[in-house]
C-alpha cells in the first residue's frame, strides 16, 4: 500500500506517541566487519536529527540498514508503526522513506528531467507528480534550467540537488541524507543546508548524516554521535554542541 505523501495534513511539530522512525539494538556488518553495533535511535515526526561521527564510525551503514540496502544482523527498525528491517529497499521507499546516499546514485546517462520523472515512478496521477516537481523547482531553481542535460554532466552541487530532488519526488515522510555537503563548493553548501531546513518546514522529517557538525547542529533538533559503530552521545542539538568532548573532537573549539 502506498502512503499518502507529505500533503496529508500533518503539522510538522505534531507530537506522536511513537517516533516516526525507531531503530532498536541495530547491528550491521559491512564487508564482514561489524560497522554498527547495538545502536538505537529515534526520529520524531517533524524533526531534523543529525548523526555525527568520524569517518568509519558507521553512520553510512546505519542509513543503509534503515533504507534496506544493507541487511541488519540483529535489531529492529520500525517506521511509521511498521517493522521494515526485512523489507526490500523498493518497498521501504514506497512506504515513504527516501534515502540520498553518499555517492548520490543518480542515473548519470539519463537527463535531469528523466531522473526526476523516475522519482515519481510510484505515482500515476498527474497531480501527485506535478506538485512535488514544483516544490523541487522552487527549492533548486537551477535544476529547472538544466532539465535536458545529462545528470552525469552536472556539477557536484547540482548533482546533490538533483539527488535530493529525486528523493522528494517519491513524496517521503522521512528523508535520509548522507553527507549532502560532501565534495561541493562552499557557496552551494549553504544553499543545501537552507534547502534541508525548508524541506523540514514542509513537513518532511529529516535524518542527516554530516561531517560539518557545526552547521548541521544549527538546523537540527537533536543529534547522535557514533564512534567505531557505537552510540556514545545523544541529546538536543544544544546539549551536543556544548558537550566538551564534542567541542574538542569535532568542533575544534
Amino acid at each position: 500500500m502506498r502512503h499518502e505523501g507529505i500533503n496529508s495534513g500533518m503539522s510538522p511539530n505534531a507530537s506522536t506517541a511513537t517516533p516516526l522512525l525507531a531503530v532498536r539494538g541495530l547491528t550491521t556488518a559491512y564487508r564482514g566487519l561489524i560497522a554498527v553495533s547495538d545502536v538505537s535511535i529515534d526520529v520524531d515526526q517533524g524533526e531534523i536529527v543529525v548523526v555525527a561521527g568520524a569517518n568509519g564510525a558507521g553512520k553510512s551503514t546505519l542509513l543503509k540498514s534503515v533504507a534496506g540496502l544493507e541487511r541488519a544482523r540483529s535489531g529492529a527498525i520500525t517506521f511509521f508503526g511498521e517493522r521494515i528491517e526485512a523489507m526490500p529497499g523498493h518497498v521501504i521507499t514506497e512506504r515513504g522513506l527516501a534515502y540520498v546516499p553518499e555517492n548520490r546514485r543518480l542515473f548519470p546517462g539519463l537527463s535531469v528531467s528523466d531522473n526526476l520523472r523516475l522519482g515519481s515512478y510510484l505515482y500515476r496521477k498527474r497531480a501527485d507528480r506535478e506538485a512535488p516537481l514544483e516544490r523541487v523547482f522552487s527549492l533548486f531553481p537551477r535544476l529547472k534550467e538544466r532539465l535536458q542535460q545529462r545528470a552525469g554532466t552536472l556539477s557536484g552541487g547540482e548533482q546533490q540537488m538533483l539527488a535530493i530532488g529525486r528523493a522528494l519526488m517519491t513524496r517521503p515522510r522521512l528523508l535520509m541524507l548522507d553527507e549532502p555537503s560532501q565534495g561541493i563548493m562552499p557557496k552551494l553548501v549553504d544553499e543545501i543546508f537552507a534547502a534541508v531546513q525548508s524541506i523540514r518546514d514542509t513537513g518532511v522529517t529529516i535524518l542527516l548524516v554530516e561531517q560539518r557538525l557545526a552547521e548541521s547542529l544549527e538546523i537540527a533538533n537533536r543529534a547522535y554521535v557514533l564512534q567505531t559503530g557505537r552510540l556514545i552521545l545523544s541529546g538536543t542539538a544544544a546539549e551536543v554542541r556544548d558537550n566538551p568532548d564534542v567541542r574538542k573532537a569535532y568542533l575544534g573549539i
Binding site: 521507499t93 546514485r105 523516475l118 515512478y121 528523493a167
Partner: protein
Amino acid sequence: MQIESLLQVFASGLLMGLLYALIAVGLSLIFGLMNVVNFAHGEFLMVAMYAVYSLWVVTLLDPVLLAPVATAFLFGVGAFAYMGVVRFAMRAKSNVSMVQIFATFGLAIFIQGVAQYFFTPDYRSITDTWLGGKTISIGGLFLPAPQLIGGLISIVLFIGLYLLMSRTDFGKALEATREDQGAVALVGINRNKVFALGWGLGAALVGAAGAVLAIFYYIYPQVGGPFALIAYVVVALGGFGSIFGALAAGIIVGLVEAFTAVLIPPSMKTIAVYSLYLAVVFIRPNGLFGRL
C-alpha cells in the same frame, strides 16, 4: 550484373536483415539491461515457431493471425526464464558471469530436449498459408510475401520499441535499471520486476520473428541455432545493448549475406558475415553503435 538484379538482391537482403534485426534486438535488450548473454535465445525462436505450428495444427488459422499469440506466449516464456532460472544464477557467490552462461546454456539444452520429446526431430512445415510461396511485385522487383510482411512487422515493432523506451515510465525504468540496478530501489522500482519484464519483452520480440519465420522455414528442434549465431553477430556488430545498433547491424548482415551469395557459392555465404564481424571486433570492439 544488371541494375534490376542488383536491386533485387538489395531488396531481399534488406528484408532478411530486418528479420535478423528483430531476432537479435531482444538479445541486445536483455544484455544491455543486465549484462547477461542469453544462450537460449535461439531456443526462444524455436519455441515460437513450434507454438505457431501447434496452434495452426489445431485451429488451421493462418500464422499471420497467430503471430500476436506467439508473441504474448513468448513474453511469458521470457519472464519465466528469468524468474525460474536466471534470477537464481545471478545470486551466485563467485564467477557470476560463468554461472549465468551455463544457466542459460542449460536452459537451451532443456528446451531443445522438451521440443524433441514432444515434436520428435522431424522437420515440420506449415502449408497452405496466405503468404507462403507468394511473391509481391513492387516496381519490377519480386519480393517474397512472408519476408515482406516480416520486414513490415519488424519496422513496426522497432518503432513501438523506440516509443516504449523513450516515452513511457517503463522504458525509463529499463534505462535506469541498466544504468544502476542497485539505485532503482531508491525511487521505488523493484528491479526483479523490471528484469522479468525485460526478459519478457526480449523474448516477445523474438517470438514475433519466429511467427513470421514459421511461414517459410522448416521447424525442427535445432532450428534456433543458426539464427542465434547470426543474432550474436548482429548484437556484437551493432553494439551490445543498443536497439538502433541491432536494427542497423541486422540490415548490414542481411545485405552482406545477400550480396555474397551472388558472388561466391551460397553455401559459403556466412563466411563474409563472420569476416565482417571479425573485422569490426578488431577495429571497434564495442560494435558500430555501442556505448564506450
